[in-house]
Amino acid sequence: MSLIHDSPINIEQIERNFREIAPPLNEAEAVLESNRCLYCYDAPCIHACPTHIDVPSFIKKIASGNLLGSARVIFDANPIGATCARVCPVDVLCEGACVEKTLMDAPIQIGRLQRYATDYAMRNEKEIFKAGAPNGKSVGIIGSGPAGLSCATYLARLGYKVAIFDKKSLPGGLDTYGMAEYKMSQTVSVEEAKQVAKLGVEFKLNTEIGRDVSFEELQNQHDALFLGIGLGATNRLNVSGENLNGVIDALDFIEQIKTRDWRRVPLGKTVAVVGAGNTAIDAVTQAKRLGAERVLMIYRRTEKDISAYAYEYELAKKDAVEFVWQTAPIEIVGDNSVSALRCQKTDGSNQIFDIPCDMVIKAIGQQKQHSFFESVAGVATDEKGRVVVNELMQTSNPKIFAGGDCVNGGAEAVDASQMGKLAAQGIHSTLTGEQVKFAGFS
C-alpha cells in the first residue's frame, strides 16, 4: 500500500483529534463518582460484566481510599482490567445495567472509575498478585491477546510454568493493535502484559506457531496448550479491483494508526469504508480524525440493521461521516490506484452508481483461522469456523483448550478475558482433578 496523502491538517490537530474520548477522572471526580455509587447488593452491574467484577466492592474501596485493594478486586476477576476500563462497551454492559441509569439516566461511570483504580496500581507498580508455588506443570499459550493473557495470569497464580507465543512483536493481541486510538494507546495493554510477565510468565514474541515453531514441538513441551489466536484478516469483498493501490484492510489501517506515526498512515482525500460494524466505525472515525475530507460508510442494508453499537454510530455521526445505506460494492474502479467505488443499490431498484474516492477500507468482518485449526492444531470447528469447546473450554483434543474470538467468533476483549479465566479453571481441573473458582464465579 503506497498511497500516502498529506493530511490537510497539521500534526497538532491530529494529536488533538486523537486525544482520549474518556479521559482519566481527577481526584475530585473520583471522590464524587465513587460516593455516588449506591453500593447495591447483588448489583446488576456485576451481572452485566462478562467477567463479573465485583463493581460495588471496587468502587467502595475507591471511596474509602483503598486504591490498591480496589485494583486487586478488578484484576482478580479480569487480568486486563486496565484495558477493559477504556475499551469496554460499557453502555451495553455494566453501566447499561447500573441502577443509577434506571433512576435518573446517569449511570455511575464504572469504566472511568475502574481506570482510576487500575491506573493507581500500575503507575505505582504495585504488586497485585504473586505467582503460586511451582506445581511442576507447564502450559503453552498461543496468542497474547486478552484470552491468552487472562489464561496465563490465572495459571501462573496457581503455580504453572507458562509460556506465551505470539507472532507479533508486541504483546496484547488486538488490545495492542486494534483498539481505536482515541480509546486507548498501546502502552496500556503492553504494560498490562508486563504485569503478567512479573508473575513469571515467559513471553516468546515474533514467534509464529506453525511457522517458526511447530505445533508438535509445543505439544511435546507442555502438559496442555491454550489457543487464543483470535481471528484472521478481514474478509475479501470479492469484487474486481481489490488489489488496486488505495484498497486496504481496516485492521491494517488501524494497526498503522496505533504507531501514532501520523504521516506514515495511508490516507485518501475521500475514503469509502465498506461495512457497518464496530470496526467500520473505528475506521471511519479515525479516517476523519486523520484529516480525510470526506468519509463515507457503505452498507448493503438499512440504518436499523447495523451491527455497530448505538453510541459508536453516534460517534460516527458526530464526526460528520456520510452514510450510504442499502448499497453494495460491485467493483473498485481505477488504473493503478482507486478512483471510484462502483456500487449497486440493494433496495430493489438495482441502480448502479459510482462513488468517486481514492481510498477503500474493507471492514466486513474477520476471517476464521480455519487452516490453522484444521491442519496445524487438529481441533474440531463448527460450521461457522469457530473452535468447538465444552464448558471447560476444552477442544476436541483433551489437552488443547481454546478461548476468545476464535471460539465465540468475535466479541469483546472482556469476553475473551472471561474465556481465558474459564480455560485456566478447565486446564487445572483436567490436569490435577482439583476444582478452583476464580473471582467472578459463585
Partner: protein, 422 residues
Amino acid sequence: MADLSVNFAGIKSPNPFWLASAPPTNMGSMVERAFDAGWGGAVWKTLGEPIVNVCSRLAALDNGATRMIGLNNIELITDRPLDVNLKEIYECKKKYPNNAVIVSLMVESKREAWHEIVKRAQDTGADGFELNFGCPHGMSERGMGAAMGQVPEYTCMVTEWVKEVSNLPVIVKLTPNVTNIIPPGRAATKGGADALSLINTINSVMGVDIDTMIPYPNVNGMTAHGGYCGTAVKPIALNMVSELARDAEINIPISGIGGINTWRDAVEFLLLGASNVQVCTAVMHYGYRIVEDMIDGLNNYLDEKGFASVNDIIGKSVNRVTDWGNLDLKYKTVARVNFDSCIRCNLCHIACEDGAHQCIDFTEIDGLRFPIVDEPECVGCNLCYLVCPAPGAISMVRLDDGSESISWRELTSKQPATMTGD
C-alpha cells in the same frame, strides 16, 4: 500482611472489627453470617427483662442525596426470650471459637437481678460482658440504661455487682449523654470494669413532617426522643474516646463506637486510643459485607506505613490531643490559593468575607479573576480551605519557623496580671 489480631481486655479476636450490640446482632443466625463475612467479634443485642417494642422505630438524617448520614432509633433491648438468646450464644460460640462473642446486659437496678443474669449468661461460653449503661430512650425511663450511666455512683455500684459474680472480662458501655465523660469513665474503672466502650446513642429528635406536623419516627401520631448514631456522630465519639484515653486515672482498654463506616474511621479511633472498634449503623445500611474493605483497607494501610501489627498504631495520636491552654500561640499558618487548581467558584471569598476575617480579595491573571489571600490579614482559621471544592486549590502554609513557642498557660503564668481571659 500485617497482624490484625487483637487481645481486648483478655478477649481475643482475629481483627479489631466487632459488631455493636444492635439489630445486626439480634440472633444466632445473624451473628454467624457476620462472622462468615469476616467480623472479628460481636456484642449480642442487649439481653434483659422482656420488653415490647413500638412500630415504627427508626428515622434518619439525609444530606442532600446522601441517605442516612445520621440514624435515630427508639428501639429497646432484645424482644426475644432470654433462654433462646442464651442457647444461641452458646451454639454460636461453639461454632466460632476464634471469634469474640460478648453478651450485652441490662436489668433493673437490683443486685440480685444483675447477679442472676450474669450467672446465667456466663455459662454460654461467651468471652465477656458488656453492661449497657447507655441506652438513652425508653429503658432510661425505667431507671435503666443511660439512667445508670449518667450517675457515676450507680455506674460504679452496678459494675461492682457484676464483678462480684462474673468470671469473664466486663466492658462498661457508656452513654454520651453527659456533660463530662470522665466521671462515668472513672466510676466504671473504680467499680472494677476491665474495659470501657463508647459511645452509645445520643438523645435526639430526628425531624418533623412539616405537612402533618408529626415528628419522626411516627408512632400513631406521636414520637419520643431517640438515640442518634451513624456517620454524623463520629466526631463526638472520637472526642469522648480520646478524653478517656488521655485520662491518667483510666488505664483500661477502650472499645471505640460511633459513626464508623470504613477502615479509615476505624484507624482514627485506634489512633485516638481505642483498642478495637464496634459498628452498627453502617452495617444496618449496607450489610455485613462492609467488613471486607475494613480488613483489606486496614491491612494495606499498615503495610504502606510499615506497621507489622494493628496494635502498633493504638493510641499513637493520643498525646496529640491536649487542653487548649497548651496549644502553641506562635504557630502561624495562612491560606494560599493555587491558581492552577482553582476553579473560581469564589466560595472561599464569600466564606472569609461573611464568615471570617475579610482577607480574600481578587486579582486578575490572564483576564480571569482569581481569589487571592491578603496574607498579613489572614488569621489561618482554615475556613476557606474547608469550603473549597477543588482539591489542592487552597493550602494552609506555615509561616513561623518553629523557633519560638508559647502557650496560653505559659503566657498567663508569666503575666498573670494582664491576662484575664482564662
